[in-house]
Every structure is written in C-alpha cells, then in structure tokens.
Amino acid sequence: MEHLLPSPDVGPDAGPYWDAAKENRFVIQQCTDCNSWRFFPSHLCPSCGSDKAEWKEPSGKGVIHSFTEVHRGPTPEFRAHTPYMIVLVDLDEGPRIMTNLIGNNLDQCQIGAPVEVCFENRQNDTKVPQFRLSKTEADT
C-alpha cells in the first residue's frame, strides 16, 4: 500500500479551508463588500481592502494555467512519489491555486485543459484539495 504524504501545515488564517477539506468540501473566501473571490486566504480583501469575507464553495472547476512534472522531490516523502505533477489552476471564479494533478491520465495534462477539484488523503486523518482532469464528452 502506498504511503500517505505528510499532513499539511495549517495556519490560523485558513482553519475553515482545512476543516472543509476533511469533509471533501472546497471552500475559499469571497469578499462580502465587492464580491470578489480570493486565494490565498487573508484578513483583508486584496481588491477593496474590506475585512468582511465569507468562506464559500466555488464551482471547483478551472483550467490548467501551467504545469511541471517533478523528478526530484524536496523531501524523502515526496521523493518516493516521483515523478508527480504540479499544476497552477485558474479557478472559474478567478483565483489561482497550486496543487498536484492526480489521476491515471496525466499524459493528457496540458495548458488550458479543464480540471476539477478532488481530495487526497494525507497522514493524521487530514486531506488536501487536489485537481484532476475533467471528464470530457468523449470520455462518457
């Protein structure tokens, strides 16, 4: 059986983010004043400076902005998983997020490819948001 990767470090700005991930829910902040979505989590809205925000579920869909296949991991845990794919995903709601691209069709990874959020189990009963290639018409 595959070894689980380490649990993520959790910062106080983002408690709800990691709590939701444990329940297979993907939440990010939306500004209550200007309605813009944001990621990374932060105390102030980078668009309007408001300190009012709600944690809400975006569509969970986006497209690959760029990617790289990692052949040398930074730690022994990641080294055991090489090669693995890191992607920058542009969420349909606007913000960009970095995750791994997971799934068994990574050869189809390309810039502009549609992706959707999923979750990966990590050590200590934690989960991290991940992305996988969206199923296309042709797949179904």
Binding site: L5, P8, D9, A14, F40, V70, T75, I86, M98, I111
Partner: protein
C-alpha cells in the same frame, strides 16, 4: 540625486566554488577586505554596512553580526532580505544614504557557504523556503518547479524552445571558462543540457544554477569622494525596483514581471534607453530567466529573447554580451551572492581590464537582480563616465 553623484569605488569577491576553510561570515569578510582594498580604503573608513541573509548561518541580526565580525562600528547598518534581488536593493539603499549625506562610504556584502556549509536538513529547508508553507509546499514543489511552470507557460505563449534555453546555459559556461576565478573548465553543448538529468520539466540539472561557496562586496561612495581614491569608479546612472509578489501562486502573470517596471525606472533615472546598453549581467538562476529578462528590459523584442541567445549575439564577441562572467549557471550562486557577482562583473568590465572575457564596448552596463519567483526586482545601469 543619485545620478552622477553615487559611484561604486571598489569591488571584491571571495574565493569561489568549494571553500571549506571559510565560514559564510568569513567569505563575506574576505570579499569585503578585497573590495575595500580595491577602493584604496581601510575598513575603518566604512561608516555604512548593508548585507543580506544566510541559510547556512542564519544569525538574527546579520548586519550587526557582520559589523562585529569585521570590527567596524557603522552609523548606518542593516540586513536586507529580498532573495536574489538583495544586492541590488542594498545598492539602492546605499545610494540613497550617500546621496542624502546619511553615510559617506557604504560597504555591501552578500554570500554564504552554500556548497560546504549546509547540513542535509538545511539543504532540504533551502529547497522549500521559497514556497508558501500552507498552500504550496504541501504539493512538493522545488524552487526549480516554480521556474519550470514559468518556462512552460512562456514556451506556450511565445514559442520559446528548449534548445534556446539550453543555449543560455551553453553561453554561460563558455564565459565562465574564461574567468580566472571560475571553477569551470568543461564546455557544454546544447545536447549536454537537453540530455542532463531532469529536475522538474522542462528544466534539467544544467538549466539550474550552481550551489557555491561565494560572496561578493561593493564599496559605494560619492563621486566627489571617489576622486581621491585609487579605484576607477563606476557611476550609478540609474536604479529601480519592483516587488509584485513573493509566492508564485500570487504572481500577477507568468509571462510579465516586475523586471519591466524596475527596468523602466532605471532607464528613466539615467535618461538612457536599451539601445545605449553595451553589455548586461542578468539574473540567470534558471535558463528561462535571462530570456524573459532580456525581453522585459528591452534588449530583445517580446518573444525573441530565446532567439537572441541562439543567435550567438549574447557572446562576449556579440552585439549585446550577457553574463560575461558565466552567471549563476556557471560562475557562482550562494544565497544572495548571485546578483552580487553580476554587479562586480559589470564594474570590472567597465574598467576594461578583463583579458579573455573583456567586452569591446564597455561604457554602459545594465545589471538585473531578481529574487523569489521573479518576485522582487532591481535594475541597475552603470557607466564608466558621468553622464
């Protein structure tokens, strides 16, 4: 006013490569002594000290620690941390202190013993320090992974090729071999780069900078004061910074960076334009980076930086020599030292005594430092005469 008033009067570098007999502080001190002597000064003449940071010897107050180590008591002293952009930013701070009369003679150093001074744990830490602890590092990026994603996006938008990126590394090696302090002796081919070990696609090991023991140092003073000094001063014609993000997830763009903004500020201060530049020392932590910088700084049209390298025009004999010392890819990279070697090299080239690697036309130099993931930028324009 910085222009025509602020000069680099002395430059120095530590021994380069693997220098196990010196600590990181020792490397900085060796470079400092050489720079101060190059200016014809003594350490007691230094009233300002700026330095960078160290992964291998992470002292809490690096500026004060270095002052203590050098035995000086400056009245203007700090350590700065904007990654590879630090030497340029320090020069900017020093220039403002000189121009405003807050300091007379500022010593700047940067570097550490990255090759021999790191424990395995430190090395791992160094590989993850630039990534966001909560939202990037859980996905296992190396520093090369970030730049690899920039490379992939750049190739996608502008058609930059792997061969063009490899040409950057080949050119850097050729220049480094001509440098008497360089650890390099073996030429590279495009195929060598393309067939080297993959790190994070599309970057292979030979697309990535060295890990060295190295430090560099500058002595910055006023043009007036430099008249009585031994060293031939390099005038700081223009300097500018831009800081747009730190983590790559938050970068405004993967194809347009603060390089253009800091470059514009430097050109504006100097009154010069890209066509006035005789040679350039760009930041080349990864082979894609100087291609992008050459474009953003107006040395090549957008999308044509790769072709500029492939054409051979960036060679010492070419129309716009770039990284005449071999850059981070083939000369030295030790923490914040990478950009410092570019500044030191520019000053040396302006003086015109560099033998096998001396560029023919050496009136005006452009230097660019960059830190983070093309996050923090400083562009400098230096010249051998006042404007």
């Amino acid at each position: 006013m910085i222009k025509n008033n602020v000069v680099i009067a002395g430059v120095g570098e530590s021994d380069i490569g693997k220098v196990p007999e010196l600590s990181g502080l020792g490397l900085n001190a060796q470079a400092a002594k050489r720079a101060v002597e190059d200016a014809g000064l003594e350490m007691k003449d230094i009233d300002g000290l700026l330095t960078a940071y160290s992964m291998t010897e992470p002292y809490f107050m690096m500026g004060s620690v270095l002052a203590e180590y050098l035995g000086i008591k400056p009245t203007f002293c700090a350590s700065l941390t904007v990654g590879g952009g630090t030497p340029g930013a320090a020069l900017h701070h020093a220039a403002m202190a000189i121009a405003s009369g807050q300091a007379k003679t500022v010593l700047i150093t940067a570097g550490e013993n990255r090759a021999t001074g790191q424990s395995r744990d430190d090395a791992v830490k160094a590989l993850t320090q630039v990534g966001h602890p909560y939202f990037e590092n859980p996905y296992g990026p190396l520093i090369p992974s970030f730049y690899a994603m920039i490379a992939n996006r750049y190739m996608h938008e502008y058609g930059t090729t792997r061969e063009q990126m490899a040409a950057v590394a080949v050119r850097a090696r050729d220049h480094a071999i001509r440098h008497p302090s360089s650890p390099q002796s073996k030429h590279l081919t495009i195929d060598d780069v393309l067939s080297s070990k993959p790190i994070s696609t599309p970057l292979n090991i030979l697309d990535c900078c060295l890990i060295s023991d190295a430090a560099g140092a500058l002595v910055v003073t006023s043009a007036d004061r430099a008249k009585d000094l031994k060293g031939k001063p390099a005038y700081l014609h223009g300097i500018g910074e831009s800081h747009t993000h730190e983590h790559m997830t938050m970068a405004p763009s993967l194809t347009e960076f603060g390089t253009e903004i800091s470059g514009k500020a430097a050109y504006e201060m100097s009154g010069l334009s890209p066509s006035d530049i005789d040679f350039a020392e760009l930041y080349d932590c990864f082979s894609i980076v100087p291609i992008i910088e050459a474009e953003e700084l107006g040395l090549a049209k957008r999308g044509e930086g790769g072709a500029l390298y492939a054409s051979g025009e960036t060679a010492i004999e070419g129309s716009i020599p770039i990284n005449t010392h071999g850059g981070l890819l083939s000369y030295a990279q030790a923490g914040a030292s990478g950009g410092m070697h570019g500044i030191v090299e520019a000053v040396r080239q302006l003086r015109g005594n560099e033998g096998a690697r001396q560029v023919k036309k050496h009136d005006i130099a452009l230097v660019h430092n960059e830190g983070g993931i093309l996050s923090s930028h400083c562009t400098m324009i230096l010249g051998q005469h006042p404007l």
